[in-house]
């Protein structure tokens, strides 16, 4: 049986992609390449358009990206739910892909001048230009099967979907917006946890967002928390687990501590399926698991049930 590679959840929070990929490929290969670099001469180089094909990380099934998009980024062979961003979720959920984004004007800044291997501001600038995203969460309002709802969705590409001041403030304003317009609130989580470059400020976002949920609760408005692959740390220790309904996509890794940290602590291998959505459902922390293809209808059904 193929041994599953354990993802280093925490590493996603560094904002560096390359090193992780490098590490993974090192683990995969049992032979070493003798000569480094590209040996094919430029004249013989074959051009393949970018992003035309997608390989399923779970079963290696290859499909065209366009086909995969039509399948809502769910592998037609093994039902693996590919990681997608806010743009894709908004398109999947909102009627005719029409919605209005809110609070886009709030962006991160390097208040602490935090420097690890790189300066935080430099990281922010680089990721912004590379991804066209302003931060790790976007908020939008629109209709789901004709029912109006506010949806906040994380982008894992942006420093591992990390929770910092901007996510906290957008979350807070989204709650105010819901209360003002009497709308249900849904948050789609996909994050490695708190953003270390914002230090204690990012920790305090756990309290900030929970306090706002308390106000939403007093206003008797429903809050649905959808957990997707992966959701860890500060998210699961705050609003991720505080939904009136906590639901998840199939096979998503969800937990407080990352698998590597746990393994290092207990010095034992982790059981199969540990921290997967099915595991959480079994232990009583989810209301149900929902396939991405059924998500839209389920959400509109729920809104009906809450409002009738």
């Amino acid at each position: 049986m193929k041994k599953e590679l354990e993802e280093n959840i925490e590493h996603n929070l560094t904002g560096d992609e390359e090193t992780q990929k490098e590490e993974e490929s090192q683990k995969r290969s049992w032979f070493k390449r003798g000569k480094k670099g590209i040996l094919t001469s430029t004249a013989d180089k074959k051009e393949t358009p970018e992003g035309l094909w997608s390989k399923c990380p779970n079963c290696n099934y290859i499909s065209t990206t366009k086909d995969l998009e039509e399948e809502l980024f769910v592998c037609p062979k093994c039902n693996y739910h590919h990681r997608i961003g806010s743009q894709e979720y908004f398109d999947i959920l909102f009627d005719n892909k029409e919605y209005e984004t809110l609070f886009d004007e709030i962006i991160s800044k390097d208040f602490l001048h935090f420097t690890d291997l790189k300066n935080y501001q430099q990281r922010l600038d680089e990721i912004r230009s590379k991804t066209n995203l302003k931060d790790s969460m976007r908020v939008a309002v629109g209709n789901v099967n004709g029912k109006k709802i506010v949806i906040a969705c994380m982008d894992f590409e942006f420093i591992g979907g990390s929770l910092g001041s901007v996510m906290g403030e957008k979350f807070s304003r989204a709650v105010d917006y819901c209360i003002k317009h009497r709308l249900p609130y849904m948050v789609i989580s996909k994050s490695g946890g708190a953003r270390m470059m914002e230090s204690a400020f990012s920790l305090m976002q756990l309290a900030k967002t929970s306090g706002k949920l308390s106000q939403l609760s007093n206003a008797k408005l429903p809050y649905i928390s959808l957990l997707t692959d992966p959701t860890f740390g500060g998210i699961s220790a705050s609003f991720g687990m505080l939904g009136d309904l906590n639901i998840a996509e199939p096979g998503a890794l969800i937990g407080f501590a990352g698998p590597r940290v746990i393994k290092e602590t207990i010095k034992k291998d982790l059981p199969e399926g540990f921290q997967k959505s099915e595991f959480l459902l079994e232990h009583g922390f989810l209301d149900f698991i929902i396939d991405r293809k059924k998500l839209k209808n389920k959400i509109s059904d729920l809104i009906t049930l809450f409002s009738n």
Binding site: D116, A194, L203, G240, F256
Partner: protein
């Protein structure tokens, strides 16, 4: 508290140890030769206090972290013993088991009933294991919440003592919902109808700390730290090495002075010269004064206003830029 020669010394406290050793030698000489050396001994004892002052005057952030973990540092139970009367410890989360890394119960502060809750570390090797090094499991957080709801029911103020290297990252902790337990506590603490005062008395690591750390007033003792991750873990993730903990401690801005400066805590509680481990009585007396004052400020407020202000206090935390809103609004 332990007295010399049972005291333990951190590397930067070694000059103090040397002074103690000199006193010891003088005492022995005095005994042998029957010469009165009390003057010299007194001088050395003064020198010890001066040295304690000198050392704490110029601590690096990493040294503060070390002080917060000093093996002789007082823990929650010590402060309860020294500050409060009539303490009745209450056990269990009524669900799974009694977590010994989290303690709590009713007690009296200046003759008034309060609920006191805190992380507890062990004072020797065996106890440290029993207390799981102050790392609570979900049942610890659920026990804390049960006690907080009990306090709310009987309208008693809540005092929490934070001292944890983090919530326990174990397999069973995950099975029982470590994330959910902490999330629930944070949420419920934002809406408790009674006054809540939280004090960082040692280590304040991440969600494990905040799980009993949401209140109307947040106090931080002088030689403690409070931030999103321990400097060691931060070093291993961001610097990809365990050797950058000193740099990580600096970058994280985790000291009481930093946190007060950011407005993330309300007050710094002074400690005895050199740190709380030098004098438990004095440390407890200083802490008692700060807590009593803080409680005085909030206890007579209307509960609804107090809750509203608590939520607002945390809602203000964070930093960001706001771009000018484009004039062409999307439909």
């Amino acid at each position: 508290m332990p007295q010399y020669p049972n005291r333990q010394f951190l590397d930067f406290e070694q000059p103090i140890k040397t002074l103690y050793e000199e006193i010891e030698k003088l005492k022995q000489t005095a005994e042998k030769s029957k010469i009165d050396m009390s003057d010299s001994i007194q001088k050395l004892e003064n020198a010890i206090i001066e040295k304690r002052r000198e050392i704490t005057a110029s601590l690096t952030p990493w040294q503060r972290v070390q002080l917060s973990r000093h093996p002789d540092r007082p823990y929650t139970n010590k402060y309860i013993e020294k500050m409060l009367t009539n303490y009745v410890e209450l056990h269990g989360d009524r669900n799974f088991r009694d977590d010994k890394a989290m303690v709590g119960g009713f007690a009296q502060l200046n003759g008034e009933t309060v609920m006191v809750i805190g992380h507890q570390k062990g004072i020797n090797t065996k106890m440290r294991q029993e207390r799981n090094f102050g790392m609570a499991n979900p049942e610890g957080y659920r026990k804390a919440l049960r006690l907080m709801k009990l306090a709310e029911k009987f309208n008693k103020p809540i005092i929490t003592f934070i001292d944890t290297p983090g919530a326990y990252p174990g397999l069973e902790a995950e099975e029982r919902g470590q994330g959910e337990a902490i999330a629930r506590n944070i949420y419920e603490m934002t809406r408790l109808q009674v006054p809540v005062i939280c004090v960082i008395i040692g280590e304040g690591a991440s969600g494990g700390a905040l799980g009993i750390g949401v209140g109307d007033r947040i106090l931080m003792m002088e030689n403690t730290w409070y931030t999103v991750i321990s400097p060691e873990s931060c070093s291993s993730i961001l610097w990809r090495s365990w050797d950058k903990k000193e740099v990580a401690a600096e970058q994280l801005r985790l000291t009481a002075t930093d946190m007060k400066g950011f407005g993330l805590v309300d007050e710094i509680v002074p400690e005895p010269i050199g740190g709380a481990h030098w004098d438990y009585n004095e440390a407890a007396a200083l802490l008692k004064t700060s807590i009593s004052n803080a409680l005085e400020q909030i206890k007579n407020m209307d509960p609804e206003v107090r809750v509203q202000q608590r939520i607002e206090k945390f809602n203000k935390m964070g930093f960001w830029d706001e771009l000018p809103v484009e004039s062409t609004q999307v439909q």
